[in-house]
């Protein structure tokens, strides 16, 4: 028995009621439906806003992060006035301001193997709006085990991917990507950046797919993957088939319950940079400053090499004097420019790329090498506050 709409709701959803594919019954279906949005960042922002506006009766939000300044370039559900607040609370307030007739359930906790089934089981559709591989594999497996569709979206720089994974009717995420990339091979948005409007495009497509699923209308992106590129304004569709060897949805599946996804992916379940290469390899910004100050500044470059592994355009934002710039992607082929006998401190924006550079250098036989923990951003916070943080 579908819920009735009040006169106020009929007025609010007038433009939906005029579409025969939605109509009064469809709008009542939406009121009776529920969607779990996993992640309230770039993708989760438009998804949650549009599903709230569309009148999806119950929307769950999972996130344990707080809003920060760097989010506002793309995470339009949050605002300057909510910086420092929990993302789920910031998002809920905006959604209820848009539509107070809906219910927004918030889960201010990481989405993990311990809580995921409990959180997801009472929702009709899951939306994968996360920012890391472990949570993507977890979201997929939860959807497979619970027999629910998982509306997938992911973004990087100018590229987006969208699909609907529903193992009952087509392939799942693991059919397409049986394994995650080796740690460090695929850069995250925190490292490589993303055009702010890109998650708007991709998230809006995810919201569209979710509404189609809830209303049973149209042709959902099951068995199809959309590859979007903003620079070319290209939309390519490729066909996805069920992988007969899929470990969660194939005929001889051997994964029947949630696993340890951080271990499976070899990376943490978040996109924050901790900027450390391990205590033995790190040097704090303050320690580096005193090292540099104790040496004669004129002979600095002879004593200690500062190796900046950021992209050249990042040097316009902030830079350290005397540093040698070799972008991480070029480092392996330019090792001959470096003197392994010399002490070296490697740095990047926040310490993640430099930690990777350090691994590469150590495996190539460099021994006197350290990682500037927290990168040039830590230097800007602790040593030279005239430098901007980005």
């Amino acid at each position: 028995m579908l819920p009735e709409l009040s006169h106020e709701e009929i007025l609010r959803y007038s433009r939906h009621l005029l579409i025969p594919e939605v109509g009064l019954d469809g709008q009542r279906k939406l009121k009776n439906s529920s969607v779990l949005v996993i992640g309230t960042g770039g993708l989760g922002s438009p998804v949650a806003l549009y599903l709230a506006a569309a009148g999806v009766g119950r929307i769950g939000l999972v996130d344990y992060d707080v809003v920060d300044q760097t989010n506002l370039q793309r995470q339009v559900i949050h605002g300057a006035s909510t910086v420092g607040q929990l993302k789920v609370e910031s998002a809920r307030a905006k959604m209820l301001d848009l539509n107070s007739d809906i219910q927004v359930d918030v889960y201010n906790e990481p989405f993990t193997s311990e809580n995921a089934m409990r959180i997801a089981k009472d929702y009709d559709v899951l939306i994968d709006g996360t920012d890391n591989f472990p949570t993507r594999y977890l979201s997929n497996d939860v959807a497979v085990f619970l027999g629910k569709p998982n509306v997938y979206g992911s973004i990087f720089r100018f590229d987006g991917q969208v699909s609907v994974f529903d193992a009952r009717r087509g392939p799942c995420y693991r059919c397409l990507f049986p394994e995650p990339p080796p740690p460090g091979l695929v850069p995250s948005c925190a490292e490589g950046g993303v055009l702010g409007v890109l998650p708007g495009t991709v998230g809006t497509l995810q919201a569209t797919e979710a509404l189609k699923l809830l209303l049973g209308m149209g042709d959902p992106l099951i068995g199809k993957l959309l590859l979007y590129n903003a620079l070319d304004m290209s939309f390519d569709f490729v066909t996805l088939k069920k992988n007969p060897k899929c470990r969660v949805c194939g005929p001889s599946a051997d994964i029947h319950e949630l696993i340890d996804y951080e271990e499976f992916c070899g990376v943490p379940g978040h996109d924050h940079e901790d900027g450390s290469a391990g205590a033995d390899w790190d040097i704090e910004a303050s320690e580096l400053a005193s090292r540099l100050n104790s040496g004669a500044s004129t002979s600095l470059s002879a004593d200690l090499l500062l190796l900046d592994v950021r992209e050249p355009h990042e040097l316009q934002i902030s830079a350290l004097p005397h540093a040698l710039n070799i972008p991480l992607g070029q480092l392996a082929s330019r090792l001959s420019e470096l003197d392994s006998a010399r002490e070296m401190v490697v740095f990047c924006k926040a310490g993640t790329r430099s930690a990777r550079a350090l691994e590469l250098l150590v495996s190539a036989g460099f021994k006197k090498v350290r990682n500037l923990k927290g990168g040039i951003n830590a230097w800007a916070r602790e040593v030279d506050t005239t430098l901007p943080i980005y």
């Binding site: 979206g153 992911s154 995650p180 490729v238």
Partner: protein, 81 residues
């Protein structure tokens, strides 16, 4: 993938099979090798190649023949959100 190939979005390489095409790409962009292949030379499992919209895993893998005008898409998984 563009991240590693100077933001090139389309390249043209003459090849009669997927294996030839991939060799041609790697000759031009050797930095891509560890992205495409593991230490044993197997195509990495977070990486997909499509010919005219079909995954080469559903065709003949690296032996998939190519003809004039075929559109090949190289795609890695991305986690950003």
């Amino acid at each position: 993938m563009r991240y590693y190939v100077d933001n090139q979005h389309e390249i043209t390489i003459p090849a009669a099979s997927m294996a030839e095409l991939v060799s041609g790409i790697l000759a031009r962009y050797p930095v891509l090798r560890p992205h495409l292949f593991d230490a044993e030379g197997n195509l990495r499992r977070h990486f997909n190649i499509f010919v005219n919209g079909a995954n080469i895993r559903d065709l003949n893998g690296m032996d998939t023949p190519l003809t004039d005008g075929d559109k090949v898409i190289l795609m890695a998984s991305a986690a950003g959100g």
